[in-house]
């Protein structure tokens, strides 16, 4: 009853083609954005903004990128953190070496650099698939991090490749308070998420899904495999690259190549598995889950079970819970949290009259 699209007639092509065709969805998204843009900055304290909300948004963007590649185009990648690193270091160098470089342009260029690198490492996907490709993306992970550490030009000759992100400034306004940083990240993520949502329902997204479901069949019906796969790598890496730049500029501030290690890649992969492979909202749900879970576990161990658990178990609890949850989700709900939300919507459609 609450979520029923009956009676919503589309009388023009424009209204038929909107991103959210159902009125309740539109209202929901507007409310969500309203809360995120207006209420949250006013209510959340500094810890929430800096420690939870900004990383949540940054990781959502990275998960979104990986979800485009893995969830929609079906190419498993274990190198997302490396593409984030490319974005972060490229943005840093654009800001550093070109006078008067606008911040947002630097972010975008960082994303473009990541996309170019992504295309290079996506080339093997034309010949190989599945596990072989997953291993090939590990090459990107190790090679890029090594390159950024060894070639000191990338980090402006600092020791062990550490970079300190410059001040964020747009048209003279300096983003230095947590609220302003949060709003900047939120704006970028909102725009890019809407773009992704639009992309995956259009011709591009359908081509990706066709390749994912069966690439030979997709080729037979006239989808250009090379073009489609490389585009998926480029777009995915672009998203990861921008996420990396935001990670450096808005979240951590000072980053080193080692910060973008394999563990981070796995973390992003876990986000899309738990959130939902092949779903835009899944990237956000998964990211929220992965960001909040360690905090929740810490509280649980320190306050609730204080002293009850031996320290060896407590310190490894996170690893075990992560691993266990991945297996649990893959067995019980392979489509992740996003699917649970879908089921809720189905229920809401009938509620309170189930027949």
């Amino acid at each position: 009853m609450l979520y029923r699209e009956a009676g919503q007639f589309k009388s023009s092509y424009t209204s038929d083609q909107q991103i959210f065709p159902i009125r309740q969805d539109r209202i929901g998204i507007m409310l969500l954005l309203l809360v995120a843009f207006v209420l949250v900055p006013g209510m959340a304290d500094e810890y929430w903004l800096k420690g939870i909300l900004i990383p949540f948004l940054v990781f959502s963007l990275a998960a979104l990128g990986l979800n485009i590649l893995t969830g929609y185009a079906g190419q498993l990648s274990l190198g997302s953190a490396a593409f984030m690193a490319v974005g972060a270091f490229a943005s840093y160098n654009f800001m550093l070496r070109i006078d008067g470089m606008p911040l947002l342009v630097a972010f975008a260029l960082g994303g473009v650099m990541a996309a170019l690198v992504g295309i290079v490492f996506g080339l093997p996907s034309l010949r190989i698939k599945g596990f072989y490709l997953a291993v090939a993306t590990l090459a990107a992970q190790f090679f890029i991090i090594w390159l950024l550490t060894k070639v000191s030009w990338f980090s402006n000759d600092s020791t062990s490749g550490v970079i300190s992100a410059q001040e964020m400034e747009i048209f003279g306004y300096v983003f230095d308070s947590p609220e302003s940083k949060y709003l900047l990240v939120l704006s970028i993520v909102t725009v890019m998420a809407l773009m992704a949502k639009n992309m995956v329902r259009g011709a591009v997204g359908r081509a990706w899904m066709a390749v994912r479901d069966m690439d030979v069949a997709a080729e037979v019906i006239g989808i250009r495999i090379m073009h489609t796969k490389l585009l998926a790598f480029a777009v995915s890496s672009f998203y990861c690259g921008v996420a990396g730049a935001l990670y450096a500029y808005a979240y951590i501030g000072t980053v080193e190549p080692e910060g973008f290690n394999l563990d981070l890649s796995f973390k992003i992969l876990f986000m899309i598995i738990i959130g939902g492979v092949g779903s835009i909202s899944g990237a956000f749900l998964g990211s929220a889950f992965i960001v909040l879970l360690p905090i929740f576990l810490d509280v649980l161990v320190q306050d609730v079970f204080a002293g009850l658990l031996p320290p060896s178990i407590a310190s490894n609890l996170q690893l075990m819970v992560f691993g266990g949850l991945i297996i649990f989700f893959l067995i019980v709900e392979p489509h992740g949290l996003a699917r649970l939300w879908q089921i809720t919507k189905e229920k809401l459609r009938l509620w309170p009259f189930p027949h």
Partner: protein, 297 residues
């Protein structure tokens, strides 16, 4: 030239160590089509369990048997809890499940035995063999040679097991075609349990050798990452491929580090095997000895 040979031999012997881990991957992949990312974690778990049991004062052989028992239990539990509910899922989902399994096993091992670095002494010194040193001036580590010997025994034993025993035949049948194997009455779940137990045994051997070399520590899990390019090179389904791939990766990695790494700042052995394997894949996507894959709609 002497130096070249020394590096080459050292590389070949360290390649044997990669082959150990790759072997475990191949066994499971052949029999169940699962790409078991957790093999490295199993190596870590096995070595840590063995050392942990040894520390309680249990004699060496008993500890070996107990650790093997732990690996069998782990294998059976994996089959029951992870694989069986995921039958008919796409292979990539199973692969991601084994990544989850990796974290679970790593956490479990450290929760049980603590996360400090332990030494492991197998009674073989890591020193050059004197008479080879005298004759040719090339240092060949006694320990490495021992590891190579163990690898040879292990591979021979596995080959005999696969070729001449009833269970081995069943394993090969399952590897060939799950459904056909099922239809002639081979119990798939039993076979899987056996395969995971055998992979656990291989992990135990790998863990002992690696642990004696570098100490039993968390870094053992990274052996899996070293074994992946070996697999790509050798093909996922071939035992000889795992050995040959290991030798190629081990030797080229060391040679590249010595001759190329010096010019670019070193540390290239972290990625060189991957790039090598990647370049190789572009020419031969199924690896050296892998089965050619034909796509059908």
């Amino acid at each position: 030239m002497q130096f070249f040979f020394e590096v080459l031999i050292g590389g070949l012997l360290s390649g044997v160590m990669y082959s150990f881990v790759a072997l475990g991957f191949v066994l499971i992949y052949k029999a169940s089509g699962v790409f078991n990312f957790a093999q490295g974690a199993m190596v870590f778990f096995a070595a840590l369990t063995f050392v942990g049991i040894l520390e309680t004062g249990v004699p060496f052989w008993l500890a070996l048997i107990l650790a093997f028992g732990a690996m069998v239990i782990l294998g059976i539990a994996t089959e029951r809890i992870v694989l069986r509910p995921m039958v008919n899922q796409p292979p990539i989902a199973l692969f991601m499940a084994t990544i989850g399994l990796t974290f679970l096993i790593e956490g479990l091992a450290q929760a049980m035995w603590g996360s400090s670095v332990r030494g492991l002494d197998l009674g073989i010194q890591d020193e050059p063999i004197a008479w080879i040193m005298d004759a040719t001036d090339i240092g060949v580590s006694k320990f490495d040679l021992f590891a190579a010997g163990v690898a040879a025994v292990l591979v021979t034993a596995l080959a005999l097991f696969f070729q001449y025993t009833r269970v081995g035949r069943a394993l090969r049948a399952v590897a060939d075609d799950h459904q056909a194997a099922l239809s002639i009455g081979i119990p798939l779940q039993t076979i899987w349990r056996i395969v995971w137990a055998v992979a656990g045994f291989v992990a135990l051997v790998a863990g002992l050798i690696w642990g004696a070399r570098n100490g039993v520590q968390f870094a053992l899990t990274f052996t899996a990452l070293k074994a992946l390019p070996v697999l790509i090179l050798g093909g996922f389904t071939s035992v000889p491929g795992a050995i040959v791939g290991g030798l190629i990766i081990g030797s080229t990695e060391k040679l590249a580090e010595v001759y190329l790494g010096a010019h670019v700042g070193g540390g290239i052995d972290a990625w060189f095997p991957y790039i090598l394997a990647l370049g190789f894949l572009l020419v031969r996507p199924e690896g050296l000895f892998g089965e050619k894959h034909i796509d059908r709609v």
